[in-house]
Symmetry: none
């Protein structure tokens, strides 16, 4: 009973996420999800109050879990550089584990983001916290932590988009080293005082 229900819910989420990732949330009908699970439309409403509830709960659950996964990975390292490297590897792994889920979480989420209770740890804040601490401790040069976070996330996520569009192939894991290197370079190549490279002129 308990078990059966749990499996049903799992199957619904799986089908839904897969459809959301490939067609978008609005383009996925409740009927689609029902068909995919082998259930009737009405049966879905025993498990979720509404389509929106299904979207939101699925998003929230996995988004928080992803943040925890990243945080846990970071916790296993001590230096900022290693923390970032392992997080990048971990997020790549999460992507490869279930690309559809990952896409739903990161690219398809539909204004779900601002429904999160303020203060909830998210993948973004986990990255930001590590970067912020590194700046405080002098492991990274002084800089805008939010911008720095954006840069790292951009390096991580954009290859996944390319993967989705077929512009890149193979598991995202293959790119983790390259991205980690690029990320560290990007974070340490701060323009003003940084002698790392020729100053760009305005």
């Amino acid at each position: 009973m308990q078990e059966r229900t749990k499996n049903t819910v799992r199957r619904i989420e799986q089908v839904a996420v897969s459809l959301f990732a490939s067609k978008g949330v609005a383009e996925t009908t409740v009927k689609d999800i029902a068909r995919g699970t082998g259930l009737s439309e009405g049966a879905l409403y025993r498990h979720y109050a509404s389509k929106d509830d299904l979207v939101w709960r699925t998003f929230q659950h996995h988004y928080v879990a992803l943040a925890a996964r990243l945080g846990s990975a970071a916790g296993r390292e001590t230096s900022a550089r290693d923390k970032l490297a392992v997080m990048i590897r971990e997020i790549g792994q999460a992507h490869d584990d279930d690309p559809a889920l990952f896409h739903f979480l990161v690219f398809v989420q539909h204004g779900q983001l601002n429904r999160l209770e303020p203060g909830t740890p998210t993948p973004v804040t986990v990255f930001r916290d590590v970067i912020d601490a590194a700046i405080s401790h002098g492991e990274l040069p002084a800089q805008d932590a939010d911008l720095a976070t954006a840069l790292v996330l951009g390096l991580v996520l954009q290859p996944m988009t390319f993967l989705a569009y077929g512009r890149l192939t193979g598991p995202q894991a293959a790119y983790a080293e390259r991205i980690a290197t690029a990320a560290w370079a990007a974070l340490t190549a701060v323009p003003p005082a940084a002698p790392v490279s020729e100053e760009p002129r305005s």
Copy 2:
């Protein structure tokens, strides 16, 4: 009349894009667009064959224009580094000129991307071409040009996402220098011995 029509079309596009960017394409109804332009629903169909036609033509037109704008900017420079820097500045400018349009083009586009005739120059290919050439000419170390393109685009686009979510503020132009520096650092910081891929894609 010609003029009048042109203005009307322009206003329709503007309203539509603004709605698309803030609510998404599926969530924007033809009635919304009609209301926003002051036209009747039926009148829109004099200018576009369907809602889809409106979306597609608007996307295509501006997407190609953005590619041209970037290409033209790149053409004014000679070194790869300067080309990239100016493209980053230009794309930031394009964003600040019309954030809604930019968001529609880059983040909301709705499977419009794969409707482009293969070979059409897009912002992505413009970046890729510059990077590819730089690798060929030895201005950049040997590396997977597609991955390199992804890295640069990630550095450019993610801050805009942060801007949209309020995680960053101010015009994107303010970040252009920092991003250009980071991009060059990321492209030149290839991991010691392991080039991910040396053969550029066709």
Copy 3:
């Protein structure tokens, strides 16, 4: 078991009637009733063949019982005037005993009325019989017995509606005397030839 079942049925009826009275029959779902009784939805179907069956049997049972209660009260008196007075008191009592049930029977009944086997004694026919007899025996002036019944019932029922809407307060019993007086006055005040008739005595 017998006892247990009886109690269950009673509780179901009570909950159902209360919901019917406050929300209407169509607006009350089987799930509502199940929740209210602490039973599962499926379990209700052990006691009733269908929702309609529940409505109908509940209605019929109590409607007939109310008629019997009124008839029995009338039987304790001899004069028409006293019969009416005691019936008015009794129906008021029935209302105060269980206002929800009363409302269901009299105001919410949902076309259940015309499902009664023709000839079944109902509160209406009980009143009518008394009035009819009184006219035959000369206790009341000649008049249309049906209209007379309507008048008396109107005097009795409308205050209950006012009670339900908060336009009157307190137990309906408080109004019984006044209503009885008014009823007798109304029945004896026949317009055409009737000389205003016998004055009502205290």
Copy 4:
């Protein structure tokens, strides 16, 4: 255009009211109304925001109109007795003009009543005002004006219920005189020593 729309709305209301009166609001589907008017279901939503909106606006419009009609009739008379008599005649006329509408307003209304802005004149308050004034001026003996109103309304409305159930026949107008006589008798036949309440409500 204007005219066409007005006619459409009128036809919708007419069909809807007729169905509401015969089947009840909940039992009447939007499809029923569409079929009855010859429109598509979707077309109804150009004229009403929802089924509920259709019910409410129809109710409100005609309920207020009925109050006005009664008030206007009362205004043509001076004595309380005549005012009541003419109101009773008028309400009977309103019933006969459109029995379905009348039933919808008085018997089917579904909690619409408490959506009226407080202070809105309704048929009930119009009766109550006349009775209240008559008590103040000594035209009627001291008594609870609300109860008195209930009594009069009961006398007026119950025969209509009987009409609907076939227990009475013919136009309600036929009963107006009898009802008016009964009403006056009921209002003046206050029990000797026990006035239920002497202080009229605010």
